[in-house]
Symmetry: C2
């Protein structure tokens, strides 16, 4: 068993059930709702020390720690959470909830549709980033957390942070969008659509009504392979794999996997199908496509941020070509135009969009240092 | 019928049949071989005025003109060919042959395997960029063209130009690699492999033994969609489509095509399946993956170009992220290190990799002006 990095140890996913429905942006009502979440550290007496993490497309509530002693794989942001770490559990109460539409415990297309007694499939309503944060707000209400100290997330998590800041200015102290964008680009939509197309044309998709364990793994694997290429920089792929061959020192002149990068992508596709639901992939990518913070504001990001309060730490990564640094810089400028206090760092990293998931030198220190400073001031 | 831009008028594809086999890099022998080609203009008495065009992945021999009066679609590089155009047919003899492995008249996986009396399918041998230019050389030999005035091509056509220059220094007067690279990057291999995976997992692919008209169109369409995203720049997609909706002014909250960019990609995928063979797509992308000019030279591009003769015009496009300008710049430097005369232009274009197929301002003028100057000097 590999050495565990985690400082959190064994944690359990918790579940909150809401009988009351949530009205979605589409007008549909989603009910009942279950929200899966995990917490680390302790909520202080005045409930002012909460750090709320929003996860990305393939993430879940399991941010840190392990689920059992025999589980070697810690949560997806484990290096950020724990005693002495950026999200310092000696001081903060850290929480992450699985998004609605997901497949890791919160209500999504693989949940049972109470009206039909079988999984929703495509009967699940289309959800948006705003719907996701409304569900997060429901959970925070139940837990009595009115104003989290910080909302933070990378990629689609960063979209949620931005939407939170716009929709809940009175509930924003610190907002930390990382490797984010204020609206998905045409290229982003295009990559998502090819992935969805691969899933929906897989004969095993069956209009979304596949049986558990017998879903469109081939299509989902292809979608993940496409996505994965966009998460890494060209340079990262070159450094990691280059043109090296897998299991051979010469070209085979056939169609078996040959280059290491091919083998790596196949592995990524395959392992993803074991842990993710194809319909959730459709719904979540659709929510990302729909995300456009400026749509209600005549295309003006400055206007979109007019009611925003609190302060921001915006982080981008130099080699991120999916949500490139200029996207973050536009966010920074629009916030500044509204007199909002913004710190911004375009971190030097060769790892592409996925940098936010990695222990990039200086990244944890930046987040931790900033949070610690704000906490000294705000919660003392 | 749209107004034809062509100056060439109606042309016929010609075919040359070779009973003699071609020994491929893999060691396999391909025979017999048919090569489909088109020519425009007239070969001069001393056969010194030939411009040989190498086409890209989805191209063919039909560079210019139309195949019949009722055919509204001119060849793929029509704006470059004709009287007064860069490849000036008043002065030059212009030739383009379909690559072996292709599906537009030259021998490829959809050709009949003489040993089995049915299409080769995956029994077709894996071919390389070098194999392609060897087949081109066979054709030039038959036509009595020892030294073409110019070998030119974009993308995979540019790979062929580079390989030609390395393998046939005594047959090189001008080499013009456009939007090319000296070796496919890990990212390039990755995108190709996802496309191949989409084809090979399509149930209709049937191990490559599909019937004509009943092939893996779904997989091939997905492969083309992926490819197409990489051919255009993010900015081009943004300008062309942005986040505009197709046939609607509001989000539909469903999974039907909605954004224009999605509709565009579906259209690209669909039309491609009508004109291209899925197995050819596998073989040609594999040839690109295998392309590595420096593999035999200990990774040194300077050494790879040691025996090169003639002169070069190298062209890249600023917004090409598939074979980005630094790739061309490395080629230029390595040629210069060998004392080769090189002109280089990184053309300003927002259209991405596909720029070489477009009438980008200054591009035809650059090519035409350069060629004209060399021709004045070389053929008088």
């Amino acid at each position: 068993m590999p050495k565990l990095l985690t400082k959190i140890g064994v944690v359990e996913t918790q579940y909150e059930h809401f009988g009351r429905g949530l009205e979605l942006e589409s007008g549909a009502i989603l009910e009942p709702i279950t929200i899966a979440y995990e917490t680390y550290g302790k909520l202080n007496a005045d409930r002012s020390n909460a750090i709320v993490i929003f996860h990305a497309l393939s993430g879940d509530a399991h941010v840190a720690g392990i689920h059992s002693e025999s589980d070697a794989k810690p949560g997806w942001w484990d290096f950020m959470v724990g005693s002495g770490r950026p999200f310092n559990t000696d001081r903060f109460f850290v929480l992450c909830a699985n998004i609605i539409g997901g497949c890791k415990g919160s209500t999504g297309p693989s949940s049972i549709n109470p009206r039909k007694g079988k999984p929703y499939g495509l009967d699940f309503p289309v959800i948006t980033i705003r719907d996701m944060i409304r569900a997060h707000a429901l959970l925070l209400d139940i837990l009595g957390i009115e104003r989290p100290l910080c909302v933070v997330g990378g990629s689609m998590g960063g979209m949620q942070v931005l939407q939170w800041a716009v929709d809940y200015p009175h509930r924003t102290v610190v907002a930390m969008p990382i490797a984010a964008t204020s609206r998905l680009s045409a290229q982003g939509i295009a990559f998502n659509e090819v992935g969805r197309r691969a899933i929906m044309t897989d004969p095993k998709w069956r209009g979304g009504n596949y049986s558990p364990g017998d879903g469109p793994d081939v299509g989902l694997g292809i979608a993940r392979m496409i996505g994965h290429i966009t998460y890494l920089s060209e340079k990262a792929l070159q450094t990691k794999f280059g043109r090296r061959l897998q299991n051979s020192d010469r070209l085979g002149y056939d169609f078996r996997t040959e280059f290491q990068v091919e083998s790596y992508l196949h592995h990524q596709g395959l392992t993803f199908t074991r842990r993710f639901d194809a319909n959730s992939y459709l719904y979540i990518t659709k929510a990302m496509d729909y995300f456009d913070l400026v749509a209600e504001f005549d295309g003006s990001l400055v206007r979109a941020f007019e009611k925003v309060r609190g302060r921001f730490l915006v982080i981008s990564f130099t080699s991120d070509w999916l949500y490139p640094p200029p996207e973050s810089q536009a966010i920074v400028k629009a916030l500044q135009a509204n007199g909002i206090e913004v710190a911004y760092c375009n971190m030097d990293s060769p790892h592409g969009h996925d940098s936010f998931l990695l222990d990039v030198p200086g990244f944890p220190e930046l987040v931790g240092g900033y949070l610690s400073g704000v906490a000294d001031e705000v919660i003392g």
